[in-house]
């Protein structure tokens, strides 16, 4: 049935493609006009990228650009006569990833505004071409095709949800379109994708999980009960963590797998063994607050140590009613939501540019909590694309292979305004970045970083060498 539907859609798709190509090829096309606008705007001290959210980035991006204003000036004349570099942004506008998509877009807009304020890439302005992937793998693949064939993008970038990445990557390979993903999935480093797919701006889940084990074993306890949703996402945590904690002399004494459609959890808590020292939980979905609330009711004030992944509460206010029980518990954070006492200037500048306050929420609406633990990946990836293009003196689609090689050759990525989350090491063979992870404790209804893992804590044996694959 599905196959029939797909076949029927193809002629329509071709028609859309024809119409769109016709329009976008014309000089009157919006995107080209936007590119011209951008080129003009490079002369100005502030730069507005696309709208969607109207972002007056002058404050943040301007501050970041200040240091490099002179090189920018030198590139102006060149920029005015240059076509923009187009980065196709595969965005979860609709579907189950939309909450992430909104913040990924906001962060990417800010990153591009900053890059343009600094003179663009190789003297050319940068333009984001946003397509909605519907958080759907088939649509994701279609979107990549649009980037390559209709809007003439130089590279594709952006998406989070793993099934979309996995569904899209083969198309990127076929089209020979560099595809920079920000998904955290282990699928890039596992070798299941291809040479055109890279994840240089965010660490993968395997690395994150194994980096947690030493802290848990050394500080919280050695007897761990894991509570996880009973599907692949939860199984990854189960497998990676139980192996890693064993290496540190600990053990997982009980694994409680919860069906994904469950909305009440009281019957599972009695399965937690009495000798449990630490509970490791990674629940996600609409029932996550119910889970926390019911766990609180079950334990009362006499709870074991509790460790979770912030994915459960990403974009959710830690002060929400029902979450009082989390006081004193620990979370992995990809990037600390609350500005810390030892906040770097990089994080400060980054927050300012994206419009996020010290509590990790929007400056225009403090109740709008960002996806702070993940969205830095967009910012950093765009800066890596910039650096890669500058290294290989990228001129156009003919230089795509050179761009991949330039990124593969990267290793150290020191903490900077380009990398506000912290220093990273990039492994060109596995196309995967490794970095610091943050462990925060909820104290006085804030997430306070109590431990930063060394980069090496997230290393694992290489499973692939993409550099040996032909282009």
């Amino acid at each position: 049935m599905l196959a029939v539907q797909r076949m029927r859609q193809k002629p329509l798709d071709k028609l859309f493609a024809c119409i769109q190509t016709h329009f976008t090829a014309k000089a009157t096309g919006w995107q080209i006009r936007r590119g011209t606008e951008m080129a003009k705007k490079l002369i100005k001290p502030t730069f507005d990228t696309r709208r969607g959210v109207l972002q007056k980035m002058a404050i943040g991006a301007g501050a970041l650009a200040g240091a490099s204003a002179m090189p920018g000036l030198m590139r102006y004349a060149q920029a005015q006569s240059s076509e923009p570099i187009k980065i196709g942004f595969q965005c979860h506008r609709t579907g189950i990833g939309a909450a992430y998509g909104r913040w990924y877009e906001r962060t990417s807009d800010a990153a591009v505004a900053r890059i343009n304020d600094m003179g663009g890439i190789n003297g050319r302005p940068v333009e984001l071409v946003i397509e909605d992937d519907g958080t759907d793998p088939k649509r994701g693949a279609e979107v990549l095709e649009k980037f390559a064939k209709q809007s003439n993008c130089d590279v594709a970038f952006g998406t989070l949800f793993s099934h979309v990445v996995i569904g899209s990557a083969p198309t990127a390979g076929e089209l020979k379109l560099p595809y920079f993903v920000v998904s955290e999935g282990h699928h890039v480093a596992s070798g299941m994708l291809n040479r055109y797919t890279l994840q240089p701006g965010i660490t993968d889940v395997r690395s994150q999980v194994i980096a947690m084990a030493p802290f848990v074993a050394d500080n919280l306890g050695k007897k761990v009960t894991m509570i996880f949703p009973d599907f692949a996402f939860g199984h990854d945590h189960r497998d990676y963590f139980s192996a890693a904690i064993k290496e540190k002399g600990g053990e997982v004494i009980e694994m409680i797998a919860i069906p994904p459609t469950e909305t009440s959890f009281t019957k599972y808590f009695p399965k937690i063994p009495r000798e449990t020292e630490v509970i490791y939980h990674v629940m996600v979905g609409p029932a996550v607050l119910t889970f926390v609330k019911e766990m609180g009711e079950f334990f009362g004030s006499n709870k074991p140590e509790i460790f979770g992944f912030i994915d459960s509460l990403e974009a959710v206010d830690i002060n929400s009613p029902g979450l009082e029980f989390l006081e004193g518990t620990y979370f992995w954070e990809g990037n600390p939501r609350y500005a810390q006492a030892d906040q770097t200037s990089f994080d400060k500048n980054y927050r300012e540019a994206v419009g996020v306050n010290d509590q990790g929420s929007s400056i225009t609406d403090p109740s709008d909590i960002s996806t702070y633990a993940h969205m830095f990946g967009c910012w950093e990836t765009l800066n890596i694309i910039k650096k890669g293009m500058e290294t290989c003196d990228y001129k156009g689609p003919d230089d795509r292979q050179a761009l991949i090689e330039a990124v593969e050759a990267m290793t150290d990525m020191p903490a900077s305004d380009d990398h506000p989350q912290g220093t990273k090491e990039f492994n060109g063979k596995t196309h995967q970045a490794f970095g610091h992870q943050y462990i925060s404790q909820v104290k006085d209804k804030k997430l306070n970083v109590v431990h930063t893992t060394p980069i090496e804590a997230g290393y694992y044996p290489e499973e692939v060498d993409y550099t040996k694959q032909p282009f």
Partner: protein
């Protein structure tokens, strides 16, 4: 349709999952939801990023009073004096200038706007939330305008983009005659195609795809008007005009034949003595599509399809299922309603012809449809409306700020605070419950008008009142259900 802010999590492809365990909690939340309106309780937290707080709502105790209150409306209606019900739907009117020519002019302007929007769809920003066509069609028109039409009457005749053109190009008489027995079946066919595009297409938000669909439908409409005459095609073949005219019947006001008439909302339904069977079917189909629109996102539905809602694979994986579900809903709802009316007729030992009873009572369901429409789209509107605002202030995506909004970020923070969430919930639940009460009231008035005898009317209403209670409960269940698609 698409609900934009979904629960947040990463997803990895993997295993299927176990059996659904949601029913008990959903029932509890449903009770709580009703309780918000009926009992005015403030304990419930409701949802953040649309869903997370939903499942924290308090339980059972409030639901009993909620459902009891709904049931009570039926009892009260049964004992209300017939004359009181009849007189409440009387209308009064004043003479006003006819607006026929004005409507033709505004309709032509509307057509020009539509052409511009199609160009924007094809050549404008590829981001659906920045594209004027997508925002106008799905947010301003489908979410908002349908509601305005239901509240304020037939505004559509002024902005219908095809009517004016039809008057000029096709006139009132076409080349062919659309036989009377065909009724509104062409509109029903069109509405099915539209619903399938909205609910089953992989990307109805894609600007170019939408532009193509709007163009194709416009050409189809023009062809229909040329073949069968403008008035005939708009009244029976053009599904949006049929849909919007149905919604307009809910309004307190109606401008017709140089008179502006005013009455209790629903009076137009009560006084329409022979709407026609296909008009009744169409009214029920709007409800059916709205219901499936909500149902197809629930954990319950996804579980039936064997899909893990926490890693929903995307619309491309459910195209067939959505078309099948949509078609089944569009058959089941009218069939069920027909059975309900037939039973009511039997109970009342009625001599009223069944088609007449069916069509008149079917229109009485419209308040439930509008109530659910408002409730269903409220949260999406709160987010998408901001994107529309951002697009309006910067229509050419060049950084302008014509509306002077200054620094403007789209927010969903109102899903995160108790007071705003409370307001959202009360609004949603109120829309559903008010729609329900009005539907029962209108239906009863129609029964009195049909059967004349109060006892007969009351007996005939027992099955349809049960149907409405069941449907309202279903509507509240949909709002309170965890969603994954």
């Amino acid at each position: 349709m698409r609900c934009l802010m979904r629960t947040m999590h990463k997803s990895f492809p993997g295993d299927k999952f176990d059996k659904c365990h949601t029913d008990r909690k959903i029932g509890a939340r449903l009770f709580a939801l009703i309780a918000f309106v009926i009992a005015g309780r403030h304990e419930a937290f409701a949802h953040t990023s649309e869903q997370v707080f939903v499942l924290l709502l308090p339980t059972q105790i409030y639901m009993m009073s909620g459902v009891a209150a709904v049931a009570l409306t039926v009892v009260v209606l049964a004992f209300l004096p017939a004359d009181a019900i009849r007189s409440s739907f009387r209308n009064t009117g004043v003479h006003t200038p006819r607006s026929g020519q004005l409507a033709t002019v505004t309709s032509l302007l509307s057509f020009l706007v539509l052409v511009l929007l199609i160009i924007v769809g094809l050549a404008g920003p590829r981001d659906p939330f920045s594209n004027g066509l997508v925002l106008v069609v799905w947010t301003l028109w489908w979410m908002v305008f349908l509601t305005l039409q239901g509240l304020f009457g037939d505004l559509w005749r002024f902005i219908n983009p095809w009517a004016g053109l039809g008057q000029i190009v096709a006139g009132e008489s076409g080349f062919l005659r659309l036989p009377e027995p065909v009724g509104k079946w062409p509109a029903i066919f069109g509405f099915f195609l539209f619903s399938a595009f909205m609910l089953a297409d992989i990307a109805p938000d894609d600007p170019a795809r939408l532009a193509f669909a709007v163009t194709a439908y416009s050409l189809y409409t023009l062809l229909g008007m040329v073949l069968f005459g403008t008035g005939t095609w708009l009244a029976r073949g053009e599904c949006f005009t049929v849909l919007l005219r149905s919604f307009a019947m809910l309004s307190a006001v109606r401008a017709k034949d140089g008179r502006l008439q005013l009455g209790l909302p629903g009076w137009q339904i009560v006084t329409d003595r022979n709407p026609g069977v296909t008009t009744g079917i169409f009214a029920l189909l709007i409800l059916a599509v709205g219901s499936f629109d909500g149902l197809n996102e629930t954990f319950w539905w996804l579980a039936k399809l064997g899909i893990n809602p926490l890693e929903f694979p995307g619309r491309s994986a459910v195209i067939g299922a959505n078309i099948a579900g949509l078609a089944a809903s569009m058959i089941l709802v009218p069939a069920l309603f027909a059975a309900v009316i037939a039973i009511g007729e039997k109970l009342a030992r009625s001599t009223v012809p069944f088609p007449l009873a069916f069509s008149r009572f079917a229109l009485a369901v419209l308040p439930i449809t509008l109530g659910y429409h408002i409730a269903h789209y409220l949260t999406s509107f709160l987010v998408n409306g901001q994107y529309a605002l951002a697009a309006a202030t910067d229509p050419f995506a060049n950084g302008s700020d014509y509306l002077g909004l200054g620094t403007f970020y789209v927010t969903t923070g109102f899903f995160n605070t108790l007071s705003s969430v409370h307001t959202i919930w009360v609004t949603q639940a109120s829309a559903v419950v008010i729609g329900h009460i009005l539907a029962i009231y209108v239906s009863h008035a129609v029964a009195l008008d049909l059967y004349k005898d109060h006892r007969k009317a009351m007996l005939s209403q027992i099955p349809s009142a049960l149907f409405m209670i069941a449907y309202t409960t279903f509507g509240l269940w949909l709002l309170a259900s965890p969603r994954g698609a």
